[in-house]
Symmetry: C2
Subunit: 448 residues, 2 copies
């Protein structure tokens, strides 16, 4: 990613960079599967009607049209056609659609992970892409989803992030019931409007947010002050409960949110001490969340924005009277990998999977060399055979350029030798038994 993408916002990796990305993806997959999440993928496209189902979307969407329609004309999107196809902009909305469509085939609560690309037609800037990979986990129930999943998902995601080659992170957690109940308790009834204003806190500052609350929502000085006081609470333990109570507001919904957030924070702090914070400023904009909300920043890289966000959504999916409430989080893989690469948090020990190059003494030995290679591969050793019987020096250079650690030689009498081209050490070896040291078997991801 040192190079500029040839199409702005559509990054592409070199092979040695892709190895780091694969390491991240493999680590996430392993962690999610260890916690009993099943893999699914959804199609890349949804109908615009589906994407807009929860009201206006604040994401830029790419619509699709066939380049040549059936009459041979250039096709264009029919304005406002809900059956128009478009690329998905996240994995939550498609997942909700998948759950409703396949409810008869799934066991609820349904735990799934989903690692796929998503697309947004936004103006590209650092940390923002038009094509990027998300890694999501969600649990969805048929009817009622126990609150405990809100706690569990924080633990899973903290474990997943801890397993990646990243600096420390802060998982910032809030609860919309707490915030909405509090706003109601101080007499601000347009709670969605207050959330939208509070969401701008980090961008525009407290003074400007107070202005918005007063001008757009008719808040009094005192109301604005209280709303901002709530949003200023940040604790790395459950002491936020006392701080909220000290503001002297009573509301039933607020109490429910306080209790939920207390449970999440207590368990998460125990499991990932120092990485979790109750942050009562987190609002998550226009999203569909109804309770717990999560955001995550890398310590020292806060300007990168949230690398992992999500929350509880009780009303995203339904089928007639049936409700499918869920809770989930989404990791921004591309943003993380870009940062790992640009900051050299980790790099691959070589650019190719190959551990051994089987050299050719002459052109006629290619077929025998294939047999040596086959014997090595049978034990999981990645092996290439030279394509031409060039001078040995040239064949060794081929390996050296790629970081391939071993070159295999077979002489006219069929005697085998293997050379570690880093040390120059060369020893007799049997293709049926020789193994490289474990650290040379595969490209390693070396953490800085």
């Amino acid at each position: 990613m040192a190079r500029n993408a040839s199409l702005s916002g559509f990054p592409e990796l070199l092979p040695e960079e892709r190895l780091v990305e694969q390491h991240v993806l493999d680590t996430l997959r392993r962690t999610f599967e260890l916690h009993g999440f099943s893999s699914i993928e959804t199609r890349a496209v949804e109908t615009v009607g589906q994407l807009l189902r929860k009201g206006e979307i604040d994401k830029e969407v790419y619509a699709l049209s066939r380049l040549q329609d059936d009459d041979g004309n250039t096709a264009s999107a029919a304005k406002g056609d809900p059956n128009q196809l478009a690329l998905h902009f996240d994995l939550t909305v498609p997942f909700a659609r998948y759950v409703v469509e396949n409810a008869g085939y799934l066991s609820f609560p349904f735990r799934r992970y989903q690692i796929q690309k998503v697309w947004r037609g936004e103006r590209p800037q650092e940390g923002r892409y038009r094509e990027f990979t998300q890694a999501d986990i969600d649990v969805v129930a048929d009817g009622v989803l126990p609150f405990r999943y809100d706690v569990e998902l924080a633990l899973v995601i903290a474990e997943a992030l801890s397993a990646l080659p990243l600096p420390a992170f802060k998982l910032r957690i809030n609860n919309r019931k707490l915030a909405e109940g509090f706003y109601r308790g101080i007499g601000l009834t347009d709670t969605a409007g207050v959330l939208r204003s509070i969401d701008k806190l980090e961008k525009i500052g407290a003074g400007a947010v107070a202005g918005l609350l007063k001008s757009e929502l008719d808040a009094s000085d005192e109301q604005a002050e209280k709303a901002l006081a709530l949003a200023s609470i940040r604790t790395e333990d459950t002491s936020f409960v006392e701080q909220v109570r000290a503001l002297g507001v009573t509301d039933e919904l607020m109490e429910e949110g306080l209790n939920e957030l207390e449970q999440v924070i207590a368990a998460a702090v125990k499991s990932a001490p120092g990485s979790v914070v109750a942050d009562l400023s987190i609002a998550r904009g226009l999203d569909y969340y109804t309770g717990t909300v999560y955001e995550t920043v890398l310590v020292g890289h806060e300007q990168l924005g949230s690398i992992c966000s999500g929350g509880r959504y009780d009303a995203l999916a339904s089928k007639g009277n049936r409700k499918f409430p869920g809770v989930g989080l989404s990791i921004g893989v591309t943003r993380l990998v870009a940062r790992i690469l640009s900051q050299e948090f980790a790099k691959a020990s070589r650019s190719v999977p190959t551990a051994v190059l089987v050299a050719l003494a002459d052109e006629d030995s290619w077929s025998e060399a294939q047999e040596v290679a086959g014997a090595l591969r049978a034990r999981g050793i990645s092996t290439e055979v030279a394509a031409k019987a060039d001078k040995f020096g040239k064949q060794i250079k081929y390996a050296d350029k790629r970081g391939i650690p071993y070159v295999w030689f077979t002489d006219d009498d069929g005697a085998h030798q293997v050379k570690d081209i880093r040390s120059g050490e060369q020893v007799a070896a049997d293709p049926g038994t020789w193994m490289p040291p474990a650290e040379d078997l595969k490209p390693a991801i070396v953490v800085a």
Copy 2:
């Protein structure tokens, strides 16, 4: 895939089906990496100019436009704009573009595999999708690519297909130089035209192809007869060479093609006996191939079409005077997985990764249960913790419904027991040392 896709041509899998797909993808990745291929991915979109670079495309392309352009209007594709973005329809054209753009950062010959989705706006039918996954391997050189790679790639792909839960396959190989040289040798100079007609052989039959050759290419009866005689040659060894010579045509290019095809067939037959055939009818339509061409059918499932195709392309990528010739093959993963599922060639032993469910005796024991689960996961055992302290019967039913083989119980004294819910056997167990039998650790792919 037993269910109908809710959007025609865009299949989606259930979790237990996805496990079979993951097995196929993991097997391909392992095989490709064992042979020293590096993973890359390219962006999903290319400019229409790039997609059309090699002349007219016979694939239906999906163009992209932002749903709302900057003026808030519905955007539509500007007719004929070469900078219009569109979804890629294969992985070879994007790979060629990637090689040219990154030539300064790659080591040539460059071996890569690429497993990604591609999109085609075609009319969906059995075995044809609008969104599907391809798994490609290619080797590309800077300047000259030794012919031996044409041989090697046939071996790698035969090994990859053999490792999948599939019936026998036939890798059918031909060489365009052989065919073009032969046509030239009998006086048919529009060799591309002849190839296009021969390509229709399986669909319309020999009589109709002869008619086309005569009406569209002014072939004489004798020329049409000879062209069809060549296309009728099929041998499972190198005896095709004699059969071609028996047709009495001489041409230099034909000789080159004969020699190349002989080398590929000799090595491939040795490596994968019974799975390889020299088939002189293979033409590969409008594609960009210049030498070896490959196609693959599943024996007994020929109507599925080719499941793996490719060839040598000497002129797809260039940068000024620099040429990047390549050879590669593409496996149609979605088509294969759909067939594996519909014919039940293989299925997953359970639908979830989970091996153990840790049951809850009461609500207060959730935190301790998380510790048991953590100890099990540390040894690679996929573990879930019950979300609620339901009656044990209900918790066991949760496991049973999903095929989770073991349920873990902790009594008030902290004594641990694990129950195999299939046999009912229950034994004392230590969370720090207990292991399930290897066959229960992960969902297995059971081959029929």
